[in-house]
Amino acid sequence: MTHTLNPSVETSTDLDDLARLLTPDGRRISDRQLDPWIEDLDREALRGLYRDMALLRRLDAEGVALQRQGQLGLWAPAQGQEAVQIGTARACRADDFLFPSYRELGVQLVRGAKPADFILAWRGEMHSTYNPYELNTATPQIIIGAQTLHAVGYAMGVQRDGTDQVAVAYFGDGATSQGDVNEAMVFASSFRSPVVFVCSNNQWAISEPVTVQAKYPIAGRAPGFGIPSLRVDGNDVLACLAAMRWALDHARTGKGPVFIEAVTYRMGPHTTSDDPTRYRSADEVEAWRRKDPLTRLEALLRSQDAFDDAFAADVQADADRFTAGMREAALTAVTRPAIEVLDDVYAEPHTGLDEQRTRFAAYLSGFEGEGDAS
């Protein structure tokens, strides 16, 4: 950066200026910088990525279906974003700590979330399901952008421990407007903390196109904070994996934070409550369907004779098992007893809440036998 009166600021997001390894029609192309990071990927590894993405797509569809059937209160579909979620999460080490947002179903899946984990929170049985320390993954964040600071703080902790984990902050294009996300970049840069920012730019924040948030490529913001950034085809699982491996390595080896903008598309509604026909055209959605992350990897696998009916059937069987588990979890869910609304507010005894518990228990006992209030 030098002083200038006429900085060359782009005023539109050029969607084709992306790091890419797999074209929309499934050709593997070369990228001098990304190639080395996926040299080890063999057939099985590629099939594994496909399997994850296919499973994610299925579980996502199942979530939508269960919501429609009244089993869930809400669902935030991930359809279209399988490559960035699976690619980046697969690049992480088990002991890296990930801070996803509500839409990163694929991240949770890769980290080991079980069928019930996808059900019980959206069903409204509990705010979070898995223990964050078991999956090294935080409860998906709903307050837009808040988790980016948590990731930086976690990374500051890693620095203090003198170990080499990396923290990962996931968020959307809309989130980049939040103060918190910008403050996270400031802190990460100032402390050179081992954190990777993964922005899934899916073109929309509910009904607002990304141009409301940014009149320029989002990846262009990070360098101004002293953070190297990369704009990657977010529907290309190979590029996402490679970029993330590079980013993690950068962070892990003490070179500081990295910012990845994955350019992708939210194929579905914002959530099951949303009606995207009110604000975007079918043509736009169609155009993105042609860049689908699954079909392009399938094409690559087919070109390598690595995709046959047996594999397809096997993937399908996996997905059937998983979604059956989700349905099962929904149908067998038991809502916790009333008194438990008061649990876990504090880690230590609390006279105020203890008194409320006594009162509420007394109140509830009046309904005993009625089976209604508990």
Partner: protein, 336 residues
């Protein structure tokens, strides 16, 4: 009179306010093409254009701070906070700027900003989508805080709030957006009851039941149920929770001598605490028993499936009514 849902009544109020005064600007996330996630602003952008109905970047402090700047320039911004739980990033701008600028500038700068907040629980929503943050604003000097409970008030009070030269935090119970009622679309807001005035929505003689927002209908249900037991409950819809209309409130309490306050928000230092403290001070010698609060527990808002155990309902209100009447109730015999 026209039959409207509260959501439509709010939209009509906004439309009317925008038509009456071209300094009125609507701004927030998704308020334009989408018409807001609750469709309250539906059609406004088409009608008034994108310069007056602004889809903002996703940043609540930014929304509030630019609204302050617009007010500096003489506009009357109506800000939509998408859900109750998303108002906190704007808290600094609200508390340090919106609430203080008139005082800071000794009246030279007014802040006629209306902060609309889809509000409270009972809609089976995810975390952060069912909060009742009103006490934070009630405690903040320089703000006015109102909560509506029916379409007619929604239509009139929203216009009054927008016309008010002070900042108004305007709470809209999400769970009532689809509830219908008669609305007089033609009335003059100057002829209607001012937004600062409470309304006795049901007269009674044994107990005063004070509430606001969606709890008003729960309170009316409780009053109806109590009638069967021969208990006459007076229900007061506060409408304005800062300032509170103590003329109406104390008149009722002096008549009944017994008070129950109910709200969804947590109990500790909530609006109920203020009501009881003020009532005790103003009506001590009229009180025949200790006023009782029926509120949300002092917990973060629970998961949707458990919210019914958090929200005051008819049974909990009646239990409290028994308490203020010294009748057997759930706490009879409980040592605290």
């Amino acid at each position: 009179m026209t039959q409207l849902t509260m959501g439509k009544a709010l939209g009509a109020g906004l439309r009317r306010a925008m038509a009456d005064d071209d300094r009125v600007i609507v701004m927030g996330e998704d308020v334009g093409k989408l018409g807001g996630v609750f469709r309250i602003t539906d059609g406004l952008q088409t009608e008034f254009g994108a310069m007056r109905v602004i889809d903002t970047p996703l940043a609540e402090s930014g929304i509030m701070g630019t609204a302050v700047g617009l007010a500096f320039r003489g506009y009357r911004p109506v800000v939509e906070i998408q859900f109750d739980g998303f108002v906190y990033p704007a808290f600094d701008q609200i508390v340090c700027q919106v609430a203080k600028l008139h005082y800071r500038t000794r009246g030279n700068v007014t802040m006629p900003i209306t902060i609309r907040i889809p509000w409270a629980g009972g809609v089976g929503a995810a975390e952060h989508h069912s909060e009742s943050p009103e006490a934070y604003f009630v405690h903040t000097s320089g703000l006015r805080v109102v909560a509506v409970s029916n379409p007619q008030d929604a239509y009139v009070m929203l216009r009054q709030a927008i016309a008010c030269d002070d900042p108004v935090v305007f709470f809209e119970p999400k769970r009532l957006y689809h509830s219908k009622g008669e609305v007089d679309l033609d009335g003059d807001i100057a002829d209607a009851a001012p937004m600062g005035v409470a309304r006795v929505v049901r007269e009674g003689s044994d107990v005063t039941l004070l509430t606001y927002g969606a709890q008003v209908s729960t309170a009316l249900d409780a009053a109806l149920a109590a009638e069967d037991d021969g208990i006459s409950i007076e229900v007061v819809d506060l409408r304005s929770i800062s300032p509170v209309d103590y003329t109406t409130v104390t008149a009722s309490v002096r008549k009944t001598g017994r008070v129950v306050v109910t709200h969804e928000a947590a109990r500790e230092a909530g609006v109920g605490a203020e009501l009881i403290a003020s009532i005790t001070e103003k009506c001590f010698h009229y009180l025949e028993s200790a006023p009782v609060r029926v509120t949300g527990h002092d917990i973060p808002y629970p998961p949707a499936k458990l919210e019914k155990h958090h929200l005051p309902d008819l049974d909990r209100i009646l239990d409290a009514v028994d308490r203020v009447l010294d009748r057997p109730n759930s706490l009879s015999g409980v040592q605290l």
